[in-house]
């Protein structure tokens, strides 16, 4: 069960009450406006109480909220989207959606990891976890983008690459490795949007770019809290502890210099006003696109190299190797 869904229940009830009173106010002779004002103040207080100080684990759940806008919701707001299917080798992976569209009149190629809205769709889309063929489809689209000098805009929302037998047999490592290398040298601008969950190499496989935008309540980490806990302590049930330690919030990512811009979300999260959240992200994309397309390709690639070259965590020591 999503802890945010539980947490926001009283707020939703209160808001339903306010809506009811507002309707009554319009149809009845009695004036409820004083009551409505009081309840609205209470709702505001409640909102701050609930969302003002979320724990890392609650933020993970906010990023996974069942009504949070998904990649296709953003893509649908682009002009003239046409989906392009398949990796030309094995199958079409529904966890990865690709195609072309227009953003503010500019022709772009689009990549997105798509989760499902319900169990049935989640099974179809493997919970947004792509198989190798999904990454290879994305690679095919990126090569098209390079060939035709169209920018790439990607939407990241995945717990990670699909961990399974078929995925391993078909070379999950190679597919991800190839994409990361391809993006490092792709001779066209790449804009990355982290809209929900960014987990591990499975996210990075469409996540290396010139400018990385992150929604305020999205998360981005070396691995989703569950596999991270499984790796660290052989216990996926310790995910809450992993979430607390991984530093996976947008503020953390901005501080590390990995994310270039944080797009604020409506109070209580993107799912409370999806339209606003989507518009804000696409607006940031439009602005970025205008800026990036002004740069020469070589300039773009040099800056891209530098952006990632400087991300590290090392220092020099006077210690010598113990064994010498």
């Amino acid at each position: 069960m999503n802890v945010i869904v539980e947490l926001e229940k009283p707020l939703l009830e209160l808001e339903a009450k306010i809506d009811g009173l507002k309707k009554l106010n319009e149809t009845q002779r009695v004036d409820f406006s004083a009551e409505i004002r009081a309840l609205e103040e209470k709702a505001t207080r409640l909102k701050t109480e609930i969302f003002g100080n979320l724990t890392p684990w609650q933020r993970v759940h906010l990023a996974r909220h069942p009504r949070r806008p998904l990649a296709m919701d953003y893509i649908a707001k682009l002009d003239g989207f046409v989906e392009l299917h398949g990796d030309r080798a094995f199958r079409d992976d529904p966890a990865m959606v690709t195609g072309f569209a227009y953003l503010g009149g500019v022709p772009i190629f689009v990549l997105g990891q798509q989760k499902g809205r319900d169990t049935k769709e989640n099974l179809y889309r493997s919970f947004g976890m792509a198989h190798p063929e999904g990454y290879r489809k994305a690679a095919r689209i990126m090569r098209l983008a390079e060939k035709f000098h169209r920018p790439v805009v990607s939407f990241i929302d995945t717990p990670g690459a699909y961990p399974g037998i078929g995925a391993e047999e078909r070379g999950q490592s190679e597919a991800i490795a190839t994409n990361i290398k391809l993006m490092a040298g792709l001779r066209t601008p790449i804009i990355v949007n982290i809209i929900g969950e960014g987990g591990s190499g499975g996210a990075l496989a469409i996540g290396l770019g010139d400018y990385v935008i992150m929604l305020q309540h999205a998360i981005y980490s070396v691995a989703s809290p569950e596999p991270a806990a499984a790796i660290l302590w052989r216990n996926a049930a310790k995910a809450e502890e992993a979430a607390a330690r991984l530093r996976l919030t947008s503020d953390d990512l901005f501080e590390f210099g990995i994310v270039d811009e944080i797009v604020p979300e409506p109070a209580g999260g993107a799912h409370r006003e999806p339209g606003h959240a989507i518009d804000a992200v696409l607006e940031a994309d439009k602005r970025t696109l205008a800026r990036l397309t002004r740069q020469s390709t070589n300039e773009l690639l040099d800056r891209r190299y530098e952006k990632y070259r400087k991300i590290g965590a090392h220092e020099e020591t006077a210690l010598d190797r113990a064994a010498r």
Partner: protein, 288 residues
């Protein structure tokens, strides 16, 4: 570089080691002589980085970037501080970090060589490993020599969080630039190679050699088990499994590793006729 010295030794007076595959008791002196390959079942036990270097390099190995240690970007603590764990790994492995990088010759061919060490934090890649591998590749480009990376790693280092993840991006960008120069990158995947290391330079190489019996994959068995609860087939994610599924170029036993690597290096560094010209033209077209 001495062959011994960095061996992980739980106790100095230990004479025997148990083969993890057939559980035979092996006399350590014999085991070392057999390159840590079990004399009974042929299982390849994990090899420390310095032993691997001694196995592959002709003689001297000139290490670079030897003094880098982690800056602990997340200030990580669980049952003990990450820095404390790293100290323990130093004692256990005799190394300052999970990879050793430098320059040497292999059958007289000059190369840059990086070797990961599983006995330091499971060979995981954090900021230091990412930086050292990147420096190695950049220096290989400057010296115009092939780059060989021997992997042995559980993947990205969780204790360095998303900084560790970004090392996939950093090293991949270096590999990408290196490739544009027409120089070969060769990876030798040894037990185990998973996660962020297989999903970056491990599988970005021009030629991928896997050591016999090595466990290689993206998701570790534990993650697959806990996520999808599928029963895993016999031999799943072994070097031989990968060869069968078209994921690696060859599977080589440890005893033949040096000569196999040298024959690949010799081919890729041979002065060809038409092929050399094509390679040069190709790299220009790529806009290097």
């Amino acid at each position: 570089m001495r062959r011994r010295g960095a061996r992980p030794q739980p106790s100095d007076d230990k004479l025997w080691e148990i083969c993890p595959s057939c559980h035979e008791r092996l006399y350590i002196k014999d085991l070392d002589q057999q390159l840590r390959v079990c004399s009974k079942c042929g299982h390849h036990l994990r090899l420390p980085a310095l032993d691997r270097i001694a196995l592959l390099a002709d003689g001297d190995f000139h290490e670079i970037a030897s003094n880098l240690v982690t800056a602990d970007p997340l200030r990580w603590t669980d049952r003990m501080p990450y820095l404390k764990k790293a100290e323990g790994d130093r004692a256990k492995s005799g190394l300052l970090e999970a990879v050793v990088v430098g320059f040497c010759t292999v059958e007289s061919i000059p190369i840059g060589l990086g070797v990961m060490d599983f006995f330091f934090r499971g060979g995981t890649m954090g900021g230091v490993v990412g930086e050292k591998v990147t420096l190695l590749i950049e220096e290989c480009a400057r010296r115009k020599v092939p780059c060989v990376i021997v992997t042995s790693s559980g993947g990205a280092r969780m204790e360095e969080g998303v900084i560790a993840l970004m090392q996939l991006a950093k090293t991949s960008a270096a590999v990408e630039r290196f490739g544009a120069l027409g120089l070969p990158l060769i990876s030798v995947l040894t037990d185990p190679t998973t996660g962020g290391v297989s999903a970056s330079f491990g599988f970005q190489a021009d030629v991928i050699i896997a050591e016999s019996g090595a466990a290689i994959g993206f998701a570790g068995r534990r993650v697959i088990d806990q996520t999808i609860r599928q029963k895993l087939p016999e031999g799943f994610q072994t070097a031989e499994f990968l060869l069968e599924h078209g994921q690696v170029d060859m599977v080589v036993r440890r005893a033949e590793m040096k000569s196999a690597l040298a024959s690949v290096l010799r081919f890729f560094t041979a002065r060809g006729t038409a092929s050399a010209k094509t390679a040069t033209a190709g790299s220009k077209a790529a806009g290097a």
